[in-house]
Amino acid sequence: MPLPDSSTRHGYRAVVRRKRLLLGLLALALLCSLLLDLALGSVRLGPWEVVQALLSPDSVPPQARVVIWDIRLPVALMAVVVGAALSLAGAQMQTILNNPLASPFTLGISAAASFGAALGLAFGLRLLPVAAEYMLPLNAFVMAMLTALIIHALSLKRGVTAETIVLLGIALVFTFNALLALVQYFATEQAVAAVVFWTMGSLTKATWGKLAITTAVLVATLPLFLRRAWALTALRLGDDKAASFGVDVRRLRLHTLVLVSLLAAFPVAFVGTIGFIGLVGPHIARMLIGEDQRFFLPASMLAGAVILSLSSVVSKILIPGTIFPIGVVTSLIGIPFFISLILGSRRRAW
């Protein structure tokens, strides 16, 4: 929309107000979805009952209190935190690799993390000398990190295009899936059942402890991204331009990849591979709010959290009394929605 010279500043302020409003609406959508997620289940609770149980647990019957606080809240919050973490990881991978198809899932980082966790689960193998209770997340992290570094090393080679990176990612996905199958082949029956859990992705095993760790990783990494918001945005103008602005492009890429590996590894270790959130969340955020990372980062997190939280709701209502694996739901529901968004979008971001 053309504007006279004197109103460009006002125009920008209006744009910023609109972005803040959109962030507010996303947060509101998340809150509604969270309440719905808490209300639904084999024991149906009204929205008011849920709010009461959250605000003053003593004022509701013990059954409702136990259902909300001990069963549903860790799962519902895990959906929010995992959705936010995976979407943030995807947003940053797309930014630093300058590639719309980049995400922990499509580039094999999630598959590598699953393989790392499966090694621990099936054979008790520890990739780092740590206590047994931290073995799974750290195994997942080590494998995710190694994969991220392979992708990083290749992306630095001359003549490597965005398409090459995606092809390499597909190769890595197949490699780790094959290795995972090998682990299952040699593992005991009990271990195989546990490994299969990862490949489907499920929030039902969420606990307050796992939720705390995943949240801690998200809370610890977020300020590091936010501090570099201008530099990360500059990367989207091309490496030369970012470097001309004084951004240390190589260092920024490497640091971001380490953080992305952390963000992708912990959710995978706790809830299994949940695909497409890392791909879809950032795309929705980009279409709504653009790529100024000061707004894009929170928008990506909120979009990812809303999608996974809604998927959790859908997983309960598809067949009453049964909870579908969340990874299956995100793929079945999320992808058609995503395709309709892309095809319907007038402004193509990529």
């Binding site: 053309p2 004197s6 460009t8 302020r13 719309p100 530099a231 500059a234």
Partner: protein, 261 residues
């Protein structure tokens, strides 16, 4: 006053030394220095070396800057981008790099001023991906100018612009250079624009310097024959300014058999 002098400067691309032994006199603030030479002469590489983005032997001696190396602003040749950013956001982004999150009124005023001076306020809220090549170049120029440069390094800033925009941009840069005491290096292919707008010239060919100094002393018929392999005249027009007129070119160097007209 800001000054810049090259002393035996070379640059590595990977393991290869692509430019070497480039030495010049000291250029001073308030001057427009055109960097000219045939394709693959090393102009972009030299700019990257001067901006500190490439390593190599020799010294880029800078003196008199207020902000150290952050006063050196390099404008690379812009590849198309698919970033979901508006022109306004990209200019603000350039200005706020290495600064806090908070956007002050002074930042917005500076962005407004740059957009208005380049005559692109009407595309302020267009997405970068929707711009034409020329508009993208103007947006890129706006990003560079918004950083308050002390030394400007501009790599072919007018290559995608129409005649009117070329005149507008080069006049604007020359005026800024004069008003603010900026030292500007501009890679250009149009030698008539060089003669019109530049005070001095640095000639590169094959990764080495082929001379530097005042335009009229350096740009000679002999130099054009040796560096560009063209047969040319340099003549004074009815309004008193010098113009390069190309008569023919050589296919392999030395002899100039192809004569136009």
């Amino acid at each position: 006053m800001v000054t810049l002098q090259l002393d035996g400067v070379g640059a590595f691309h990977g393991r290869h030394l692509t430019i070497s032994g480039i030495s010049t006199q000291a250029f001073a603030g308030g001057e427009v220095v055109a960097v000219i030479g045939p394709n693959a002469a090393g102009k972009s590489t030299l700019f990257k070396r001067m901006a500190g983005l490439l390593g190599g032997p020799g010294e880029v001696a800078v003196a008199g800057t207020q902000r150290g190396t952050s006063g050196i602003c390099y404008m690379p040749q812009d590849p198309p981008t698919s970033a979901a950013l508006t022109v306004y956001e990209s200019v603000l982004l350039a200005r706020k790099q290495n600064a806090s999150w908070v956007v002050h009124d002074t930042d917005l005023a500076a962005v407004d001023e740059v957009l208005a001076s380049l005559g692109i306020a009407d595309i302020a809220f267009r997405s970068l991906g929707e711009l034409s090549g020329g508009q993208r170049q103007l947006a890129s120029l706006a990003q560079t100018l918004a950083r308050d440069p002390e030394i400007l390094l501009m790599d072919e800033p007018t290559s995608a612009l129409d005649l009117h925009r070329q005149m507008q941009v080069l006049s604007l840069v020359r005026d800024l250079v004069r008003q603010r005491g900026i030292l500007a290096f501009i890679a250009l292919h149009d030698l008539n624009q060089v003669l019109r707008f530049a005070d001095k010239v640095l000639v590169l060919a094959g990764g080495r310097s082929r001379g530097s100094g005042p335009c009229k002393e350096v740009i000679t018929v002999d130099l054009l024959r040796q560096v560009y392999r063209v047969d040319a005249r340099i003549e004074c027009c009815s309004q008193g300014s010098s113009h390069v007129i190309i008569d023919g070119y050589s296919a392999a160097g030395g002899e100039i058999p192809h004569r136009a007209g």
